[in-house]
């Protein structure tokens, strides 16, 4: 019993599209940030699927680095969200559209 690699790629495309959609229509800054993580995960699945197809370890190394960078990004991003919440008292992205306090 085999599964075509194309199905994995289609699954990853579906997850990526849902991530873009959530990024566009969500209004809570934390949920917007979570949809970015969803997109990163979808791309990781593509990397692993291609690494499996071409029997290359490099694809999985890429995923490893994406995970490391995503962890760093999540830490800094959430710290920025906390700082934004302290100064504006809101998490709605539409209320955070001025650079001036």
């Amino acid at each position: 019993m085999t599964v075509p690699i194309a199905w994995y790629l289609v699954l990853s495309a579906i997850l990526f599209s849902i991530g873009v959609w959530a990024f566009l229509i969500k209004r809570n800054i934390i949920t917007v940030f979570m949809s970015i993580e969803l997109m990163l995960n979808a791309v990781n699945l593509t990397f692993v699927a291609f690494a499996h197809q071409w029997h290359q370890v490099s694809g999985q190394i890429f995923v490893f680095f994406v995970m490391v960078v995503a962890a760093a990004e999540a830490a800094v991003g959430l710290a920025i969200i906390i700082a934004v919440f302290r100064t504006r008292n809101t998490l709605n992205v539409d209320s955070v559209d001025l650079m001036k306090l």
Binding site: A13, W21, V48, V69, A71, L78, I81
Partner: protein, 164 residues
């Protein structure tokens, strides 16, 4: 068996992602994202990436999502307010997403025979294979990422600190 596992966990992935989109409370979105990430770990295991499956559970559904739920609870984030954002996002963005999905799916499915297929256990990358590449030919990028994480820790502390 393999097909069944793929459909079960692929289906859970898509349902969890849709739930993230449809829920209005951020904590529900965070929990459904944990479901997506955990079932992606099973898919990695099906593709023979055992180290990445473990790292996915530990780093993503463990560390990153705990950070997310912690921040949601710390800021006491309530239900999402319904405000209308930019019109362009709805008019151009949502059809754009559908077009992107159709284009990608058409491309992948038309190349289906050339892309080959996956069988359970036909290509297994062990942790020692991965570390041989990571610690020999890619040692410098690996060390640079540790500097990146250090900078990220310092930045997170500096940004989240309460100013006096």
């Amino acid at each position: 068996m393999y097909l069944l596992l793929f459909f079960i966990f692929g289906g859970i992935c898509v349902i969890g992602a849709l739930n993230l989109l449809l829920q209005r409370h951020p904590i529900n979105s965070a929990l459904s994202l944990i479901v997506v990430m955990s079932s992606l770990a099973v898919l990695y295991l099906l593709l023979g990436a055992e180290f990445l499956a473990a790292a996915q559970v530990i780093v993503y559904s463990g560390a990153i999502m705990v950070l997310f739920t912690f921040v949601i609870m710390l800021l006491n984030a309530g239900k999402e307010e319904r405000t209308h954002g930019s019109k362009t996002a709805y008019i151009v963005g949502v059809p754009g997403v559908v077009v992107l999905l159709c284009l990608l799916s058409f491309m992948f499915l038309s190349q289906k025979s050339r892309l080959g297929s996956a069988r359970l256990g036909d290509y297994l990358v062990t942790t020692s294979d991965l570390s041989a590449v990571l610690f020999r030919s890619l040692l410098l990028p690996f060390e640079v990422t540790s500097v990146l994480i250090l900078v990220a820790i310092l930045g997170a502390v500096a940004l989240a600190r309460r100013e006096n």
